[in-house]
Symmetry: C3
Subunit: 353 residues, 3 copies
């Protein structure tokens, strides 16, 4: 990773138009990124939301990624772009210091002689790659990872330290899986038998598309029959549970600690908030947004925003209302009863009036 | 694992009665399992729920596991059994392709000389087995697992890659623990001391019964004093938190992302839904079913079904109702006030009538 | 760890006053701790809550940690202290049997030549320590852990088996991190771009203070810009999600499966209950207590107790009330309408009276 860029270079890298302020210099070097409030003269800041506009005038940044309409307010060099947040995202790639993984098999890795390791692929110390597993060119298997029999890690994909990909699973090209995540553990399936349980062996696998990112300590279980499928460009956060035979449509994003129960089918371009929970065997339409902590109990056939969480209160207030929740049905019946009485009184009153 | 079975062999393996359809052949070979809808001629399907009966007539399966009452509707060879779902579960074992673990200690494992490794036990590459740990015959400790001092892995039990079992814990015979699960980390206990915390060292262990299965990325903490106990035949899904000194009764099943707080006692044969949360220091009777996302705040002395989750709505509708939740106590008071007034009016009305 | 203490030694270790009962002996040896109910003659029990006072008179313990006011009721040797629970916590340290980690680098560890390993530090088998990482004196990196480039593990800190600390992170002195926890994985940040997502590389790190304890399978993500910060003396349980750029104030405790979304700022000395969920970009004042399962949707500017969870009921009762929840707004409108009608009736009635 290059570590410093002149303003002119940055403009080129980011497809931005450089608008110098009085005294600014296209050769000024930028070493990193920061917020408008905190950036120093060697850092690039960005104005992506009008909420932060007030910080623009006094920013100490060396330059700012900014939309055309705010360029005039920018006291330092402006890198003018159509979408400053997108340009910021692209800029983060320039300054990323995540260590690169050296190509080749570390001597402390354990790679089965029948595994296939592509050109430029990296297998870290302590990693185990089983028979017939295949790492495509440039794939990275981090320290202490496990790649099971006949599994595939796509070109340029990266498993960070401690990831487990069990047998018969595939991870698409350029996908990223964070530490301790488990792909392809058995789904949770048992048949009852006189008070005991008989295991339903999980015969499917997991297929993860290209350009997917999956957070740390997340689980994607293998299918019972047929595969669990994560579409292209899907983004999944930490500590998420994806049960067997779930299908996640392309480009859907799922925030932390969400839970998707077995055989649920999530559409494309959905956003599932943190801690959202999706029941098994239901279908969610493309483009749905589910806010955090929502429990989706049945299929959602139409695109839209869906919610299901209560907010909080000071404990005393909360308790008073929560107790009433337990009386709701009775309250509703009393309400109905009163309506009848009131109706009767009104009639009488009118009749008598 | 054998990879193909004739219909006659399958009938014998599954205790089924083979009823050939016109043109079907007892020597036909079956290579796998699938649903009625998707199965091909070399696959076995099953009809376990009347919901799928409509798929029976047109199934392309080579044979179907089916109850007596539906045999006549089966267009292909029927394997007639009393409980098709149970027979299906048993059939999955026949076609499971999970790689077997080779007996012996992998050269890249680190086994303490004072550990005891039983006949046919397997220790995978990168696995660490500490002093006085004992693997009973046929126990499997997967790649990069850790088995702490004086812990016991029962006969035929299997720890998948990356499992940690800390010191002084035991895992019963034939139990299965999935990747990255941690058995016997310290429970969460601290005594307050003038704004600081003093650690309560966790002196107990974890005892896991026979035929237990525990999912991936789950935690079962060691006891503070005395052990955390998981009964025989218990099934626990992924990302579940079992705090210190919890006791789970035999054959109870706990779905994904559930949370059992410290010292809770769960009965036998209970079903706890996904994301259910059980308060600490409470007791749940045998045979209880707790639906998903339910927060069990106090003991449940009687067998039954218990619930506590709200469903969702489109965000606008949800918001309208959620706001009213914060007014519930006031609504209840207004309701009561109106009842009084109405009573007064009615009395007057009657008095005046 | 010493394994047995005479009563006189224990009194000295715990700063307690030994009050012998008739027949008790200051040289009696104590081998462990237990509850009043279960303790035997070689165990020390404690009375920390009046709820357990009834067990004092019949305890079989060899001695009891007890406050002055209950000494007279103690049938066996009393170790009289101001705060028995605190003394109990201190006593647990005396009897802890957690294996100590041998100083030095295990031959099966992989330590980069440019890593710095302090005096008495321990690196377990299969652990990987990358370039420029620094273990201060007495730091312990357990089996199969990963310590990334330029990260720091403070003096006497302990990472249990399987912990991952990514590059550029620091763990304070004497802090404890339990198995499979991931420090410094990428935060969840993406900019939308025509239906696709562009990764926001996470350029910050994680800074963990001194005397912190973090449970198993927990995630603390690295910051996007700037660091995620865990204050001194913070205690975090298992399966907790701490998103990027969160700041946790000193001595705050966070119970299991809690979720703190990005850039949230939690005050000092807060208590967050199990499964509590804190929205992103909000601030919680010092000293707040948030009860379990509460969803904190907005900033809390004042110290206090806050709640947000509903309790449960038998499923039939629950369903009746839950259905009414979906009618709440309508109920509120009907209530208001009736109040108007009643008002009108009353006026008329009075007018006509």
């Amino acid at each position: 990773m290059k570590e410093r860029f002149s303003l002119a270079q940055l403009a080129q890298e980011l497809g931005a138009e450089l608008r110098l302020a009085p005294g600014s210099d296209p050769d000024r070097e930028i070493l990193g990124l920061n917020t408008l409030q905190d950036a120093g003269a060697e850092q690039l800041a960005f104005l992506a939301s009008p909420n932060y506009r007030r910080f623009l005038k006094t920013t100490g940044a060396g330059a700012v990624l900014v939309a055309e309409e705010f360029v005039d307010e920018c006291p330092v060099a402006a890198l003018c772009v159509a979408d400053p947040y997108l340009a910021f995202a692209r800029a983060t790639a320039l300054f990323d210091t995540t260590p690169e993984a050296p190509a080749g098999i570390h001597p402390a890795a354990v790679v089965h002689p029948e595994a296939e390791i592509g050109a430029g692929a990296s297998v870290g110390p302590g990693a185990v790659v089983e028979a017939h597993a295949k790492l495509e060119p440039g794939a990275i298997v981090g320290a202490n990872c496990f790649v099971g029999e006949s599994s595939l890690i796509g070109a340029g994909a990266r498993l960070y330290a401690g990831v487990v990909v069990h047998h018969g699973c595939s991870v698409g090209a350029r996908s990223i899986i964070h530490s301790q995540t488990v792909i392809g553990a058995d789904g949770f399936g048992f048949a009852p038998n006189k008070g005991d349980w008989v295991k339903i062996h999980q015969l499917g696998g997991v297929r993860i598309g290209e350009d997917v990112e999956i957070g740390a300590n997340t689980c994607v279980d293998r299918g019972a029959l047929g595969d669990t499928i994560i579409g292209r460009g899907v983004k999944i956060d930490n500590l998420v549970q994806i049960a067997h035979n779930v299908k996640i449509g392309d480009y859907t994003a799922i925030a932390g600690s969400a839970v998707i129960a077995g055989s649920a089918v999530i559409g494309k371009h959905c956003l599932l908030g943190g801690c959202s929970r999706i029941n098994g065997h239901i279908t969610i339409a493309d483009g749905c947004q589910v806010t955090g902590n929502t429990f989706v109990t049945k299929s959602i056939p139409h695109t839209g925003n869906y919610s299901g969480a209560l907010s909080f209160a000071d404990s005393a207030t909360w308790r008073r209302n929560a107790v009433r929740f337990g009386q709701l049905d009775k309250m509703a019946r009393r309400l109905k009863e009163m309506e009848k009485q009131l109706q009767a009184l009104s009639s009488k009153d009118e009749g008598g009036g």
